[in-house]
């Protein structure tokens, strides 16, 4: 196994005269003393250009420079940096003319807790150049699998790694592959499900855009393991850049002989093509996805024990699952299974969106808490507002309130809390988000995306929407909450596919955690979050208003009147409740009630 850390010690004449060789010996002895010789490698290098400050050490991959070292510094340095992972600031090199050195990337909360496995090449390689992927150990796992491992070996490695489907359901990947391998029918297929459609989710797109070859290599290994000779990447047309990049990547892989006949001279044949979906949400559902590839109307079918494509065996895995495969083959099941929790191994990629300071794509070890993701990595809620809920798993998932922030992220824990891992969308909501309105938004989405086959889903979602719409307008009535619950359970029981069965989740989970908010919409005709336009009025606090005219200048309706240095007033007939005045006011004089 390669060393995790490389310590480059400059051994130029200048540094040697400053004692670099003694430093090197002390360093090696100390590393051995701490039992770190397998992790840390000392590499003598040439002139670093900073040798006037020598002896110099550069620690890779962090890229930290230490300068003017003495033998006495070494024990502390080794213990702090290499054992505890805390770089020693007092010994670091500060470029001249800089008052404060720019922070080290891994000391920044956004990057600190991340560990990149599926995203191992993000931001590092040019996705349009296969050579750059190869230079970072690309296609070595495929070579290893087809030339030195049997199909059973590959599947055993996958099973032992504990990898579970990253599309959301979490089915053990090794077990899925094994059942397809044992199926006697041929030909067999592998499919990459990249039909990402959850609002706020962009994991699959980012992986395909950043590192398309990791998906291709994973699929080729899967194809070898089950005996498939062709495959499809099911990608939506709404992701034009991802489509372009993976198509180019497939062409390059063919050119290099990494796809096609007799790969690595092993006799294994495999080729791949992109199938562009038209962007229907339901196509991410397995049976609808295969129907779409078969050229049929993409409606879910009664789920057979094993999904087939043209009545032949098919392995369908999510983008992130495929991207993990080469790493597991290269580094071994044992290495992978040591990351994560007992039942959820490895890392998970999340797209962090909504009311959060650092929106972006994060990859974290399973078992990390939601609080760590929202507050450490995400940097908390903008404008110092309070956290209200985080929505995981997209329209099929649920809302998790503040009291569940210490929940650890794994398949079982999220399920038990009434949400789900899902493919990894994570939408954060602050105190001004109305949960009734949010539930309505998600039901609007699923109502729109319902394929219409099952009455429960097609009409049920419409009925839910009608009730939620009334509530938001202040026309909710006694018994509505109970009706939502009854209807939700009926939709769940009577719908055929995952989309229909999970459709009521946003309503049911928000009712579970925010029932009083629904009640306030019905009983008091109020929206506690101050968001439902029909239930709120804007007014100006006479005590606080300083008469600065800012709100009046910004109001798009000209609804605010008043002279400079006099208290302003809002004309309720003209006001459209857009909230512009609220954002414009510097002294918090705009009231929402």
């Amino acid at each position: 196994m390669p060393h995790i850390t490389n310590v480059m010690i400059c051994t130029c004449t200048n540094c040697i005269s400053n004692g670099a060789l003694d430093i090197r010996d002390t360093l090696e002895a100390e590393i051995k003393q701490q039992g770190l010789e397998e992790d840390v490698l000392v590499v003598p290098t040439g002139a670093s250009g900073l040798c006037v400050n020598g002896p110099i050490l550069m620690v890779q991959p962090e890229g930290i420079f230490y300068q003017k070292l003495t033998g006495g510094d070494i024990p502390n340095l080794v213990e702090e940096h290499f054992l505890k992972g805390r770089p020693v600031k007092s010994l670091m090199y500060v470029p001249p003319g800089e008052e404060s050195p720019i922070p080290e990337l891994r000391s920044i909360p956004f990057f600190k807790d991340q560990r990149l496995i599926a995203l191992r090449n993000r931001g590092l390689i040019d996705p349009d150049k296969i050579e750059e992927y190869i230079a970072r150990d690309g296609y070595k796992a495929l070579a290893k699998a087809v030339t030195s491992m049997s199909q059973e070996d590959v599947i055993k490695e996958m099973s032992d790694s504990g990898l579970r489907g990253r599309g959301g359901a979490g089915f053990p990947t090794g077990r899925k592959w094994d059942s397809r391998r044992k199926d006697p029918r041929t030909p067999k297929f592998v499919v990459c499900n990249a039909d990402e459609g959850d609002p706020g989710a962009f994991m699959d797109r980012s992986i395909v855009e950043a590192d398309p070859h990791s998906v291709i290599e994973g699929m080729a290994i899967g194809a070898y393991a089950v005996g498939a000779s062709s495959g499809y990447v099911y990608l939506r047309m709404e992701y034009p850049l991802a489509v372009k990049r993976i198509q180019l990547a497939i062409e390059q892989a063919r050119e290099f002989g990494l796809l096609g006949k007799d790969i690595f001279g092993s006799g294994f044949d495999f080729d791949l093509q992109v199938f562009k979906g038209a962007g229907a949400f339901v196509c991410g559902e397995t049976t609808a996805l295969v129907a779409s590839i078969e050229g049929k109307i993409p409606e879910p079918r009664q789920r057979p024990p094993r999904t087939t494509l043209w009545n032949k065996p098919v392995v369908i895995n999510n983008v992130e699952t495929w991207a993990n495969v080469p790493v597991i083959i290269n580094w071994g099941a044992k290495w992978f299974s040591e990351i994560g929790t007992e039942k959820s191994k490895g890392t998970k990629v999340f797209s962090l969106a909504g009311n959060i300071n650092n929106a972006g794509l994060v990859e974290v070890p399973m078992g990390i808490t939601l609080r760590e993701i929202v507050y450490n990595i995400g940097g908390g809620i903008p404008k110092g507002k309070k956290f209200k809920a985080v929505q995981t798993g997209g329209p099929s998932g649920g809302f998790l309130p503040a009291k569940l922030l210490d929940l650890s992220v794994d398949y079982e824990q999220l399920d038990q809390a009434g949400s789900m891992m899902g493919s990894g969308g994570m939408v954060v909501m602050d105190e001004n988000v109305c949960m009734v309105e949010m539930a309505k938004y998600f039901i609007e989405f699923t109502n729109d995306e319902s394929c219409g086959k099952c009455t429960s889903c097609r009409e049920g979602s419409l009925a839910l929407l009608e009730i939620l719409g009334r509530m938001c307008k202040g026309e909710g009535k006694e018994g509505d909450i109970e009706l939502l619950e009854e209807l939700g359970e009926a939709i769940r029981d009577a719908s055929q596919c995952g989309l229909g069965q999970s459709l009521p989740n946003p309503v049911l989970s928000s009712l579970e955690h925010f029932r009083e908010e629904y009640q306030a919409h019905i009983d008091d005709k109020k929206c506690p979050a101050g968001s439902c336009k029909a239930l709120i009025d804007f007014s100006i606090d006479k005590e606080k208003c300083i008469g600065c005219l800012l709100c009046a200048k910004n109001c798009p309706q000209g609804a605010i009147s008043g002279k400079a240095k006099e208290v302003h007033t809002i004309d309720q007939d003209k006001c459209i409740k857009c909230g512009v005045c609220l954002d414009a006011c510097k002294v918090d004089a705009v009231l929402v009630a």
Partner: protein, 127 residues
């Protein structure tokens, strides 16, 4: 191209490392523009264009301008990463054409990090 063999991967890797990795190659500085959908939507093409113009004017053989995809912090795009030989890579955030130009002149040509636009130096934890 003749049939690829497992050992060929290392040869291809070694060859490309000469340009990709500065430690082994002839380039002094590598500029990576992060061009995922998030970066492009935030204006990465303008940043790219500005850097290409600067490259042309500088007419320097030891600077490599290349692309990569999303660097993770989508809300701070457009981003670029500057790698200099034997120094930790520096990530710059929330850029536009003007800022990119300044970074090119001061950091790429002048070797001095532009602190006001820099996020951090170093690399992420992989594997």
């Amino acid at each position: 191209m003749s049939k690829i063999k497992p050992e060929d991967l290392d040869k291809i890797g070694e060859k490309i490392k000469k340009t990709m990795l500065l430690r082994e190659g002839s380039c002094r500085v590598k500029i990576i523009v992060h061009m995922g959908t998030c970066g492009i939507a935030a204006g990465a093409r303008n940043v790219m264009k500005a850097l290409m113009d600067e490259m042309e004017m500088a007419d320097s053989k030891d600077i490599l301008l290349t692309i990569s995809s999303c660097a993770g912090l989508c809300s701070s795009e457009p981003m670029i990463t500057i790698e200099e030989k034997d120094k930790p890579a520096v990530k710059y955030v929330e850029l536009n054409a003007g800022k990119a130009k300044k970074i090119f002149i001061e950091h790429v040509l002048g070797g001095k990090i532009v602190n006001e636009y820099a996020l951090a130096a170093g690399s992420e934890r992989t594997l």
